[in-house]
């Protein structure tokens, strides 16, 4: 009993001494809060699992995503069910293609779309919003009015128009999704920049003659990182949703490549013939991944902005 008490007190004094030696930075604080958030940590592990599945899943697949197993072709409902024996862990579709390999491939495309879309949003949206907010005045009004106009356009229809006219290629899909993803980000960043702009350290930088573009890059943007990180994490699932939507309609990724949306679409079309595994596995991955991103985003927000709960 006394031993434990002694340990506790020693631990406490150690911690206090340590705290005196090196202060905790806001980032360390945020990391601690994030690590304590159980839902976000679980989501992080789940997401890591999905990413590993996308990267290394093809090594475990017995079939490639575009090869056809002629022994089950045309009779997926009776012979295509998930089975360890013939190597179709997730079953096959009616053409005899392995759902496991196709899910791995679809996961790669969907994650890539999400990350590229969010990446474009981070780069373009941050620079655009920071510039607009920092420069201010008429420039700001024109730049933000442009964003307003672009946002009031039904982008999904325009995106489909683009895809049809310039060919349904995957680069076009990336480009189209990138084009629309940065709008909301630029608004958020601009708002944040407006509050940063009048702080002393910006004034000091201006006073010693640092040019505007360098103030934006060196002083504004690093201070926006928290907001940008949170919003980017929440943007990834939205980009995945957008891509899946287009692929569900058959206008996105083209065969033999596939994505979650295309797989869900196929599965939804054939489930009435009793091949439920075609829908269940891609759908499962889709939902679990989106959940994970949302929880991580929420966790990041709680960690980086503790007053806004």
């Amino acid at each position: 009993m006394t031993m434990i008490e002694h340990d506790k007190i020693k631990g406490m004094s150690d911690r206090m001494a340590a705290a005196e030696v090196r202060g905790r930075s806001p980032w360390a604080d945020a990391r601690r809060r994030f690590l304590r958030n159980r839902a976000a940590m679980v989501a992080l592990f789940v997401l890591a699992g999905v990413i590993l599945f996308a990267l290394f899943g093809s090594h475990f697949a017995a079939w490639s995503y575009d090869s056809i197993d002629f022994s089950v072709m045309g009779s997926a409902a009776t012979q295509g069910a998930p089975s360890m024996a013939n190597g179709h862990y997730f079953g096959t579709d009616d053409l005899g293609r392995d759902i496991f390999a196709r899910t791995v491939q679809g996961t790669q495309i969907s994650l890539m779309v999400g990350i590229v879309g969010a990446g474009v949003a981070v780069i373009v949206g941050t620079l655009y919003g920071a510039t607009s907010g920092y420069v201010g005045g008429r420039t700001d009004q024109v730049m933000m009015r442009l964003v307003d106009i672009l946002m009031s356009i039904p982008y999904m229809f325009v995106l489909i128009l683009l895809l049809v006219i310039f060919g349904r290629r995957i680069e076009m899909l990336f480009l189209g999704i990138g084009l629309i993803s940065w709008l909301e980000m630029s608004r958020i960043v601009r708002g944040q920049t407006l509050t940063l702009k009048n702080r002393e350290f910006i004034e000091a930088a201006r006073a010693i003659g640092v040019p505007s573009w360098r103030i934006i890059i060196r002083h504004i943007v690093p201070n926006l990182l928290g907001v940008v990180a949170v919003y980017a994490t929440l943007l990834v699932p939205l980009m995945i949703l957008t891509e899946s939507f287009i692929s569900f309609l058959g206008l996105g990724v083209q065969e033999p490549l596939t994505s979650w949306g295309a797989l869900i679409s196929e599965g939804a079309g054939t489930m009435r013939y009793g091949t439920i595994w075609q829908l269940a596995f891609p759908l499962g991955f889709f939902c679990v991944t989106l959940f994970a991103f949302f929880f991580i985003g929420d966790g990041l927000r709680d960690a980086l902005d503790p007053k806004d709960r």
Binding site: R145, F157, I165, F245, A268, M271, F294
Partner: protein, 307 residues
């Protein structure tokens, strides 16, 4: 207020024109003309066709004519793939269907969402609250194209209660699944937004005052809490409307309801640019009109807004 509406209109109309010109230029930039077929047409026939549709005019003239016909006659021209049908006829055939289930989903989302969110906030940490939060988290990963197959799986294939597709204006059993599939995720978003803003309002000073002077809870909610709590919901209605119109494409495809979404995807696959443009412009106009209405509503409810 009147000046504010005028100023908003002054932005809305150029936006719409920009959308028309942009989609026209896109269509013009497309490789291959509308009459490019596997079997090449004789040059004379092609020239006649192009003259008939005005495709031999200079570009600015084509754009001007196109916009002019829309503005004066609301005429989007003929379909390129089905010469006997005009874009107007194609839109008129599908639009009532889209409008019917679209409005119903919108009502479902707003009414159920607001009620659920407000009730959850008033009874915070009760089972109702947990239910509302659970639904709103779950529905984030259940967009329309996921809801639709799940609904069909349960209600058509397993239970056999509802028809798995098709449309009839006289039989509401065809409406149920499209409305639920389209409305659920927005209902959840609205519930979440209402709940958090209601919680904030309920913690504010004027509610405490109302409580302190002994107003009954029902009156506090109806008279003092609901209106300010609805402001964030109203600003969500604009984006909500846009994504619902977009979502109707999935509904039309999956449930074969025959709305304009189906015509849009068909024309996308057939490269029927005239129909695609017509629908894009119609949707754009509706979107802009709706966001204008939302802004006016917002300005009317929120006394703090600057016109």
């Amino acid at each position: 207020m009147f000046g504010y509406i005028l100023r908003r209109l002054a932005v809305a109309i150029p936006t719409l024109l920009l959308l028309i010109v942009f989609s026209f230029l896109l269509m013009h930039a497309a490789p291959g003309g509308p009459f490019t077929q596997e079997r090449a047409l004789p040059p004379q026939v092609l020239a006649n066709l192009e003259a008939k549709y005005g495709l031999d005019d200079p570009l600015w003239r084509q754009i001007f004519d196109y916009v002019w016909r829309i503005v004066t006659d609301f005429d989007f021209g003929p379909s390129f793939v089905y010469p006997d049908r005009t874009v107007n006829q194609i839109i008129a055939a599908g639009f009532p269907v889209t409008l019917t289930y679209g409005l119903l989903s919108f009502l479902l989302a707003v009414l159920v969402g607001v009620t659920l969110g407000a009730a959850a906030a008033i009874r915070q940490n009760s089972w109702l609250d947990y239910l509302a939060v659970g639904i709103s988290i779950g529905a984030q990963v259940l967009p329309n194209f996921v809801m639709a197959p799940i609904l069909v799986l349960v209600f058509t294939l397993i239970l056999g209660w509802l028809p798995g597709g098709g449309w009839s204006f006289s039989d509401p059993s065809f409406w149920i699944m499209p409305v639920i599939a389209l409305g659920t995720s927005y209902m959840a978003s609205i519930a979440r937004i209402t709940r958090s803003s209601m919680l904030e309002v309920l913690g504010s000073n004027h509610i405490r005052t109302a409580r302190a002077k002994g107003l009954p809870p029902r009156k506090i909610i109806m008279r003092h809490a609901l209106k300010p709590a609805l402001l964030p919901v109203i600003s969500f209605l604009g984006p909500c409307f846009v994504s619902m119109i977009t979502g109707s494409v999935v509904i039309d495809m999956y449930f074969s309801t025959g709305g304009i979404g189906k015509s849009f995807v068909d024309s996308a696959l057939n490269r029927d640019y005239a129909v695609m443009m017509g629908i894009t412009i119609l949707v754009g106009a509706l979107t802009i009109l709706f966001s204008l209405l939302v802004d006016i509503l917002y300005a009317w409810i929120d006394p703090k807004i600057r016109y």
